[in-house]
Amino acid sequence: MELIIFLYFDPGLGAMIVQAIVAAVAGFLLFSKNLLYKVKLFFGMVKYDNDELFDDIDVEDSETEAKENGENK
C-alpha cells in the first residue's frame, strides 16, 4: 500500500501536532453533550426538530441498501 507521499500541499506540522489536543477537547465536549442529552432524555426534555435542513454525519451502509430496496419495489 503506497500513499501519495509527495504531498502537493503542506498539511502544516503545527496542525498535525495540535490535533491531539483538539481531539481531547472534542472528546470532552462530545462526552458532556451525550451526558446532557441523557439527562434531558431522562426528564423528557428532548425536542425533536423535523424541519432541519441538514442530516447527521453518519452515512449508514443500510441507508444505501434501503434506497436500493425501495427502488426495486
Binding site: 500500500m1 498539511p11 506540522l13 495540535v18 483538539v22 472534542a26
Partner: protein, 463 residues
C-alpha cells in the same frame, strides 16, 4: 508526467491526475501513482456507495492502459465557487466534506485534502467533485486535510457568523483559505473562552506559527488514534450544523414589502411565462433573481435555471426553498452584477470568471427584472454598457424597465441630490434606443398598477 494543452488550469496541484477538456466534455486522466487507490476504492464499493448516496460525482471509465486511465465524470452545467455561495450552501459543503471524511475513515481511507473547491452544487445539493481526493488511511496518522478544512470551511463560516455573510466573499482573495493568524485575530476575544473555538482556531494558529520556521521538524512525527480523529470530525460537524446567522433575512418577505400590487406580480409572471414558452427556453439565468420567486412561477420544464442575487440572505432563502421542495433544476448563487466574480489563481486561470462561465453555459434567455434601475442609477452604468453585457451571453433577454416616476427610481434619483440632473438619460426612449443596437424588440408590455414596462428582446447577433 505527460500534460496536454487542453488540461484545465484549475487542475495542476494533484500529481495523481488532472482534468482536461475534450471537445467540450470534461474528463479526468489518472496516472499510475493513483491506480492502487483507485482500484481499492472501486473494488471495495466505496465509489458506488458514494454515488448512490449522491455525495460524490458519478463517473464512467473510458480508457485504461499501463500508463494512464481516463474517466468521464457526469457533466455539471454550471460550476459555482465557494465565494459565490450563501451561508447555508457553505455550511452544506462543509458538512459534506466532514461526512465524506468520516465515511472514508470507517472504510480505511482518508481525504488527502479538504479544499472548498472540491465541492460544488448540482441538482439541488452539494456534491464532491474531486474523485482523486481519496487516499489510504495510514494507522495513527492525523488528518492531513485538517488545517485546510479550518481555513477553507470553519474559518469563513465563523467570520460570517461574527461579521455577517458578506465575509464569505473574502475567500475569493484567499484561494487557499483564510490565513490562520488573521482568522484568529478577527474572532472576538470571547471566542477564546469557548473550548471548541480555542482549540480549533486560536491554538491551531499558535501551533502553526510556532512550527512555521521549523524546517528540520519533519523528524517529529505527530500521531493520532482513529478514535481521536473521529472525535475531531464529529465535534466539527456538531458545531457547524448548529451554526446560524444572527442577521435577519432582509429580503425574506421581499415581495410583500415592495411596491407590487398582487395583480402586477401576476401580470409580470404571466408575461415571463408566455415568453419563456414562446422561445422554448431550456436554460435560463435570472440576474438579480432574489429568492427565485419568478423562476418558480414559470410553467415550463426549464432544464437549468441559474438564479443569482447580490443579497446573501435572498440566495439563502432561495436555497432553503430548493431544499424543502426538493427542486433539482435551480442553481442559486451570490453575485454582484456590478462586480461579478473575476478569474483568479495562478496566471489568473485557476477559477473562471462569472462572464466566462455564463458564456459557456449560454442561456437561452436572461431575466433581468427590477434590475436596470439599480445598474444604471446605483452603479452609474450607461445603457449601452449593460446592453453589451447582456448581449455577450444571452440569445433572448426579458427585461423590466421601471420608468422615471416609479417609486424606487424616484428614491434612487433623489439620493443623487443635486446631481439628479446628470441622470436625465434615464428614460424609456433612451433605454429603447440604446438596447436596440444589440437587441430587436419583439414584445413590449406595460404592467398595470405600476410604472413598469416588460420587454422581450432578441439578440441581433444570433448564434
Amino acid at each position: 508526467m505527460v500534460r496536454t494543452n487542453n488540461q484545465l488550469p484549475s487542475s495542476f496541484r494533484d500529481p495523481s491526475g488532472y482534468i482536461f477538456n475534450d471537445n467540450g466534455i470534461i474528463k479526468r486522466r489518472i496516472f499510475p501513482v493513483y491506480f492502487e487507490q483507485y482500484k481499492a476504492l472501486k473494488s471495495q464499493n466505496v465509489f458506488n456507495k458514494l454515488f448512490d448516496l449522491g455525495l460524490l460525482i458519478e463517473h464512467e471509465e473510458l480508457f485504461e492502459n499501463d500508463s494512464e486511465m481516463v474517466i468521464q465524470p457526469k457533466q455539471i452545467p454550471f460550476i459555482t465557487y465557494p465565494y459565490e455561495w450563501c451561508f447555508n450552501q457553505y455550511k452544506e459543503a462543509a458538512l459534506l466534506t466532514l461526512k465524506l471524511q468520516k465515511y472514508c475513515l470507517e472504510h480505511n481511507f482518508s481525504l488527502k485534502d479538504a479544499s472548498a473547491f472540491n465541492v460544488t452544487f448540482y441538482k439541488g445539493k452539494a456534491i464532491f467533485i474531486d474523485t482523486l481526493s481519496f487516499d489510504f488511511y495510514q494507522e495513527n496518522q492525523p488528518w492531513r486535510g485538517y488545517k485546510q478544512f479550518i481555513t477553507h470551511f470553519l474559518g469563513p463560516l465563523l467570520l460570517a457568523y461574527y461579521h455577517g455573510a458578506q465575509s464569505l466573499k473574502l475567500v475569493s482573495n484567499f484561494i487557499d483559505g483564510i490565513p490562520l493568524k488573521m482568522l484568529s485575530s478577527m474572532l472576538p476575544l470571547k471566542s477564546k473562552l469557548n473550548p471548541f473555538l480555542y482549540s480549533n482556531i486560536h491554538l491551531l494558529a499558535k501551533f502553526e506559527d510556532k512550527h512555521n520556521e521549523d524546517y528540520v521538524g519533519k523528524s517529529k512525527v505527530a500521531s493520532l488514534s482513529k478514535k481521536a480523529q473521529f472525535n475531531i470530525i464529529d465535534s466539527l460537524y456538531d458545531y457547524i450544523k448548529k451554526l446560524t446567522l444572527k442577521e435577519n433575512s432582509e429580503w425574506g418577505n421581499y415581495y410583500s414589502k415592495t411596491n407590487y400590487a398582487d395583480d402586477a406580480f401576476l401580470q409580470k409572471s404571466n408575461s415571463i411565462n408566455k415568453w419563456v414558452n414562446k422561445i422554448e427556453a431550456k436554460r435560463l439565468i435570472d440576474v438579480g433573481g432574489n429568492d427565485g420567486a419568478f423562476v418558480r412561477q414559470i410553467q415550463r420544464n426549464v432544464e437549468i435555471a441559474l438564479v443569482c442575487d447580490i443579497d446573501n440572505n435572498a440566495v439563502d432563502s432561495n436555497y432553503k426553498s430548493i431544499k424543502l421542495n426538493k427542486e433539482s433544476n435551480i442553481i442559486p448563487f451570490v453575485l454582484d452584477v456590478l462586480n461579478p466574480s473575476s478569474s483568479i489563481g495562478f496566471n489568473n486561470e485557476e477559477r473562471d470568471s462569472f462572464v466566462d462561465r455564463v458564456k459557456k453555459f449560454a442561456p437561452d434567455v436572461t431575466l433581468a427584472l427590477a434590475l436596470i434601475h439599480h445598474i444604471s442609477l446605483s452603479g452609474n452604468i450607461p445603457f449601452k454598457m449593460s446592453a453589451n453585457f447582456f448581449a455577450s451571453f444571452s440569445q433572448y433577454l426579458i427585461i423590466e424597465f421601471p420608468k422615471r416616476d416609479d417609486s424606487w427610481v424616484e428614491r434612487l434619483l433623489n439620493n443623487k441630490g443635486e446631481f439628479k440632473d446628470y441622470f436625465e438619460f434615464y428614460n424609456i426612449e433612451n433605454f429603447e434606443l440604446s438596447y436596440s443596437e444589440n437587441f430587436e424588440i419583439l414584445e413590449k408590455k406595460s404592467i398595470v398598477n405600476s410604472k413598469r414596462v416588460m420587454y422581450l428582446l432578441k439578440n441581433k447577433n444570433d448564434k
